[in-house]
């Protein structure tokens, strides 16, 4: 099977597994019908989907010898740039005395548990795909695979999470996804050497 097909399958399975875990363990938040009309709720998906898509192109390039990952690594900056912009806007809108309360939110621990929980299945699948590929920098490729798993997981988790502030997303989603990236880097260093 060509490598492109392998990666497409891997991502397809990853999304499917995440969807199953999401629907069986918690499902969307109760007020999703009204939330979906607010830009703050939708913006979370813009960020997480951008992150997942850029990480997908990046890890696919890193999986092949001789393919320069340099340009695709730059794409990875798109989602952070979006969230940083949103944080700045949010800081202008919100009065300073509720900044920290908004950032800490109401369910940060849930976020730190659910994103890795949903992302673990995708991470395992992506590790197998990396093992089948030939990353010349396994650690880096693994970290980006972790970001991809995190991006997929965060996209599902965003539908459950009732904190829509960019301050919350920038803090807790980032920590959770970084955790998956570290796991991915360690995992790929063990599994994806060839």
């Amino acid at each position: 099977m060509p490598l492109l097909a392998v990666w497409s399958w891997a991502v397809g399975f990853s999304i499917a597994i995440s969807a199953v875990v999401f629907l069986t363990v918690f499902g969307p938040r109760p007020d999703i019908a009204t939330a979906i009309e607010t830009p703050r709720f939708l913006f979370k998906f813009l960020v997480t989907i951008t992150l997942a898509v850029s990480a997908f192109y990046c890890v696919r390039a890193l999986a092949r010898p001789g393919e320069s990952g340099r340009n695709t690594i730059l794409c990875l900056a798109a989602a952070p740039a979006l969230i940083v912009t949103a944080v700045v806007v949010e800081l202008f809108i919100l009065p300073p005395d509720i900044w920290s309360a908004t950032m800490i939110g109401t369910n940060s621990i849930v976020c730190l548990i659910y994103i890795p929980l949903i992302g673990l299945g995708p991470l395992v699948i992506l590790m197998l795909a990396l093992r089948h590929s030939a990353p010349t920098r396994p650690g880096l490729a693994g970290a980006v695979a972790g970001v991809l798993a995190g991006g997929i997981a965060a996209t599902f988790y965003a539908a459950q999470c009732n904190n829509d502030s960019p301050l919350f997303v920038a803090t807790w989603y980032t920590i959770a996804i970084t955790g998956l990236a570290v796991l991915g880097a360690i995992g790929a260093n063990q599994l994806a050497r060839w």
Binding site: M1, L3, R64, G66, E67, S133, A134
Partner: protein, 183 residues
């Protein structure tokens, strides 16, 4: 040369992927030559056989041949694999690099002998005033610290510092003059 290799290798690999075993044999042979050249260039000290790199790379090419995209250039792919294997072999060897001490003994510096004799030291000290002489002797010859010397001679530390500095300066002046006198 590069360009001809590129087109030829890509053609052979495409033929190999569609089942032409002779083409695959030719491909591996040409790839081996290229990698051998690269490995010989990169291995500047002994201990690693370029043929090890060639073998490792050919094996990796075979196991990972599905990672070449048929519409992409093949040389960067080939060289990236060779480089990865080169680094891998270096890393493995590096971890248990053993060098016989006898092999490098000639490059070790011989222990330097004391270049100043006692007679020369006393000749240098003799040119100083008695106060400076005892300070310089205590610090440079006996190896005492500034504060020890100060206590021993019943002087302030600042006075010891000044005397030491002037004494050394006087010796330097005196001996550089002597040296330039020889010229």
């Amino acid at each position: 040369m590069e360009r001809r290799d590129e087109a030829e290798l890509a053609r052979l690999m495409r033929a190999a992927i569609s089942g032409d075993e002779n083409a695959y044999g030719d491909f591996l042979q040409q790839a081996a030559c290229l990698v051998r050249g690269m490995a010989r260039q990169k291995i500047v000290y002994g201990g690693i056989d370029p043929e090890d790199i060639v073998q490792e790379t050919l094996l990796a090419i075979h196991l990972k041949r599905h990672t070449w995209r048929q519409d992409a250039p093949i040389m960067p792919w080939l060289y990236a694999i060779a480089k990865y294997k080169l680094i891998d072999v270096f890393r493995q060897r590096g971890r248990r690099m053993e060098i016989e001490i006898g092999e490098i003994a000639e490059t070790l510096a011989a222990p330097t002998s004391q270049s100043v004799s006692d007679r020369e030291i006393s000749r240098a000290l003799a040119t100083l005033s008695p106060g400076q002489r005892s300070v310089v002797a205590a610090i440079s010859v006996d190896g005492r610290s500034i504060s020890e010397t100060a206590k021993w001679l019943d002087l302030s530390e600042a006075a010891v510092r000044v005397a030491f500095h002037r004494g050394i300066a006087a010796i330097t002046m005196r001996f550089s003059r002597t040296l330039s006198g020889y010229e």
